[in-house]
């Protein structure tokens, strides 16, 4: 039976998650140089078109359609066939089926957009579209099915992921790592400093992302109930704790607390708590946020030592965040908080921690390998990088014949 309260909540949540994509576009665009602002924005924004089309045609049925051996959904819902405003029997029984479908669509959209931060300022637009489209089909859709689809094999083995620590953050983080390795660093990396051109834009993006994250995590309860409340509270607390910790660590380490540090910590906390949000107590959420702040800070700093040009730190924040959060869930999960979840290490159930680590290994490895192969193939066929001259000119002019500011 359709419940108006739940339907209102998931529709609002879907709107919030949609808003995260322009939010992310601004978050990223503020950090690049002024010649690459629009190119960076477009790399996120265009996902709304490409992935939404893919989703209604084939993505939704691959991810959530009737299960085929635990691996993928079959094609019975091809082109949204049979996905109406009557509730589904498998998912979210108190809201129209198409509400669940469109809510999940927004997740599929933002995931490849996250990856683009890794190769910001040097990727060609056409190959990017091709990569994102195929990547969603071969990486996102199956992984989503494994974990969230009825019958998915990882879900069946007990792997939990409340709102996308594995499905969204780890898949995109692993793909980001592959992309950094395949594309190589920006011209001038290590010699020049690539200082953000507009930090207030990044702050604005953070505000929109945080706001949207309430829909991302809260909505993942699929009803306006106590679980949604738990997830909402965890989200806020981990975000604020990540922000506090990154700010503090940078203050101690570099003598100054920075604005970019604060917002980076917030995003780290929000990303890290994502898999755990609906399964943990508020205190656990704070601990996860604090861990996210210090671990992601360290990861981002290691990058400079290793010499990988992950331009906007997708690996260090989303990849590491996804891993840490999924493992922390294995530690902090509590059936006292959410009887539909599991007990974790602290509740005496070490095996669940093992299950979560297994999930991380499987998803991380799969996403990394497939992404790497896919990028290599597209690079050979079409070339991923802009020419050196175009990199100097900037993506805005070379790829889009526009300038951001006049």
């Amino acid at each position: 039976m359709i419940q108006a309260g739940d339907t209102a909540f998931i529709l609002a949540s879907a709107g919030l998650v949609l808003l995260m994509t322009p939010g992310l576009a601004l978050f990223y665009a503020g950090m690049v140089r002024s010649k690459n602002v629009l190119g960076t924005i477009m790399q996120s924004l265009i996902m709304i078109s490409i992935i939404s089309i893919e989703w209604v045609i084939i993505g939704y049925t691959m991810a959530f359609g009737p299960d085929v051996s635990g691996i993928v959904g079959d094609l019975s819902w091809f082109g949204l066939n049979g996905v109406s405003s009557a509730p589904s029997s498998d998912y979210a029984s108190t809201i129209p089926h198409n509400v669940f479908m469109i809510y999940q669509c927004m997740f599929a959209v933002i995931t490849p957009a996250l990856i683009t931060g890794a190769f910001a300022e040097r990727m060609r637009f056409g190959p990017l579209i091709l990569f994102s489209l195929i990547w969603t089909i071969v990486v996102y859709n199956p992984v989503c099915h494994w974990i969230w689809g009825v019958g998915g094999w990882l879900g069946n083995r007990g792997v939990l992921d409340f709102a996308g620590g594995l499905v969204v953050h780890l898949t995109s983080g692993a793909a980001a790592l592959a992309a950094v390795l395949v594309l190589g660093p920006r011209k001038g990396f290590g010699r020049q400093s690539f200082i953000p051109h507009n930090l207030p834009m990044t702050v604005l993006g953070t505000g929109l992302l945080w706001f949207g994250w309430f829909g991302f995590n809260g909505g993942s309860a699929l009803a306006a109930n106590g679980i949604a409340a738990t997830a909402f509270v965890s989200t806020h607390l981990a975000g604020m704790a990540g922000m506090a910790m990154w700010t503090l660590v940078e203050w101690l380490h570099r003598k100054k607390p920075t604005t970019l540090g604060s917002v980076s910590g917030a995003i780290a906390g929000l990303a890290t708590v994502t898999p755990a949000a609906g399964f943990i107590s508020p205190i656990s959420a704070i601990i996860i946020g604090l861990l996210a702040g210090i671990i992601c800070y360290t990861a981002v700093n290691l990058k400079n030592i290793i010499g990988l040009d992950d331009s906007l730190d997708v690996v260090g924040i989303h990849g590491i965040g996804g891993v840490v959060g999924t493992i922390c869930l294995g530690i902090f999960a509590s059936r006292a908080v959410n009887p539909g979840g599991s007990d974790g290490l602290l509740a005496g159930n070490a095996s669940f921690l093992g299950t979560q680590i297994f999930g991380v290994l499987v998803v991380g490895t799969y996403a990394f390998i497939i992404s790497w192969i896919l990028l290599k193939i597209i690079d050979m066929l079409f070339g991923l990088r802009v020419s050196e001259e175009n990199e100097v000119t900037g993506l805005d002019l070379s790829e889009h014949s526009e300038t951001a500011y006049n």
Binding site: S193, F194, I195, P196, E250, H253, R254, K256, T258, L260, G261, S264, Y297, V300, N301, N304, D313
Partner: protein, 112 residues
């Protein structure tokens, strides 16, 4: 006629403008520039990494003045722009061959 170019610290602009005003200077042109010199650049932090930014914001003033006024104007600017700290800036004097006022076509000292 000479052209005086003065590179000064941005926050001294109001003082310099006032001082020149009191001397009866009626025209000048200002550009936002970046200066590199003995003054140490500042440190910026970007996700835990430190960068030094060498080029510091400065203001360049350009004034065309009659030959006879050059010295007192230079002194006036110097006084007003002075903080005594490194980075206070420089004043350059260049020769000018002619000046034309667009509105009237006047030339020479009339046009200043």
């Amino acid at each position: 006629m000479k052209k005086i170019e003065a590179i000064i610290k941005p926050f001294k602009l109001d003082d310099v403008k006032e001082a020149l005003n009191e001397m009866g200077i009626k025209g000048m042109t200002l550009t936002e520039v970046k200066g590199y010199g003995r003054q140490k650049g500042h440190k910026e932090i970007y996700r835990g990494a430190e960068y030094v930014v060498d080029f510091l914001p400065k203001i360049k003033l350009e004034l065309i003045v009659e030959d006879s006024h050059v010295d007192e104007i230079v002194e006036c600017i110097r006084q007003a722009a002075l903080t005594g700290k490194i980075g206070d800036g420089k004043i350059f004097i260049l020769p000018i061959e002619e000046v034309v006022r667009v509105r009237t076509g006047e030339t020479g000292n009339q046009a200043i």
